[in-house]
Symmetry: C2
Subunit: 229 residues, 2 copies
């Protein structure tokens, strides 16, 4: 039986792509990374995912080729097929809590913080879609506080966001925050408990790939890759 190969189509400023990269690294899956401009998709990419969204994971073994999209679907697939410890938990109640929090960060945080902030400051420029809307940027910066408070509230009661162990909930939250952090917009100093949780996440070997990101035209702030930020 030939080895299985993995190729991820992603973008370094897409939080869901970052979450899948973290999941792959936590699961010790060796994977080719291909940056895809999903706002200007190639015909090949459109054929892979009719939704024209990153991330897309292509898994090949012998003559079998599996094309997976939707960040949550990809993470669940990795959890079901890799021998590494589960990142969903074993108890159905914990798994439901992990999935609730993944939904919270993938959708609510994305909508309230990442889209207004990163959308205006970075995506618009990458896409050549006009000037950033400063009102939206201020909205994103305003909204992030409530989410950092929620992370603090959770980690005061639990070791990681969903319970005793690290799960996809931590990866989903860390992925969103790492994109904002790449732009230098996370108010860490006024959110000490959230910072402590993020520092633990950031120091994991699986996080290293993200810390090496460098997007042309958008240099990260100096603290971005620093474990002692």
């Amino acid at each position: 039986m030939s080895a299985t190969t993995y190729r991820l189509y992603h973008h370094p400023l897409d939080a869901t792509s970052r979450c899948v990269r973290l999941a792959l690294a936590e699961k010790a899956v060796v994977c080719d990374l291909v940056i895809e401009k999903s706002w200007d998709p190639s015909a090949d990419f459109r054929a892979l995912n009719p939704a024209c969204e990153v991330p897309v994971l292509v898994v090949e073994q012998s003559k079998e080729r599996l094309v997976l999209s939707d960040g949550q679907a990809i993470c669940e697939y990795l959890d079901e097929t890799q021998a590494a410890a589960t990142m969903l938990g074993k108890d159905p109640a914990i798994r439901a809590e992990v999935r609730r929090l993944v939904g919270w960060f993938d959708r609510k945080f994305q909508r309230e913080v990442t889209t207004p902030l990163v959308g205006e400051k970075a995506w618009k420029r990458l896409m050549g879609a006009g000037e950033p809307d400063s009102l939206l940027i201020r909205t994103g910066i305003h909204n992030i506080g409530g989410h950092l408070d929620y992370i603090a509230w959770l980690t005061e009661r639990r070791n990681w966001l969903a319970g005793d162990s690290i799960t996809f909930a931590d990866l989903a939250a860390g992925a969103q925050l790492s994109v904002i952090d790449y732009l230098g917009d996370v108010p860490w100093d006024s959110h000490v408990l959230a910072k402590e949780w993020y520092a633990r996440l950031k120091s994991r070997p699986a996080f290293r790939g993200l810390l090496g990101d460098h997007i042309a035209g958008f240099p990260p702030p100096r603290h971005y890759a620093d474990l002692d930020f």
Copy 2:
């Protein structure tokens, strides 16, 4: 051991709530239904779900009380805890395809069709949030065609949306369409293949609860509850 009781906080015009109601019925779970106005949440509801979104499922057994939110998390929990046949499939590749399609309908269809259409025609009125924006309504009506074509494309190749068996993908798609259908805005006659798939779904016993919905001030069109529409 005392019986487990289930209570669902939902809204009849919320597609994700409808998806969970379908999942509960397919799993033959008897459940109390409580309509919640999530745009004007009670303090009790806010305590149940800090995201202040329906659906929320409360599961009680003896002195244990479990509060679940996020439609996908609730459906996965039901699949993991109920003896009924899986609605995710057994093979990881099929499960990934089911979850991709659940994401497609829960997010892409919701954003492109349900939010502009139902948001403008119904939610705004319920919330007292001003006049509907006719441009957004036209956008929703325009977008629905592509999604019905995609359903047709899938069902020409498969028995149900994600494969041979009915899965959460069908429930997620059916739930979204049933909300639009409640307003009479699905162009069934020009989308025969999608209509055939929906007719099969609509004739299932699990669908009966949705067909009995009647929202004050929004009477459904005559064909809504008709299996021969």
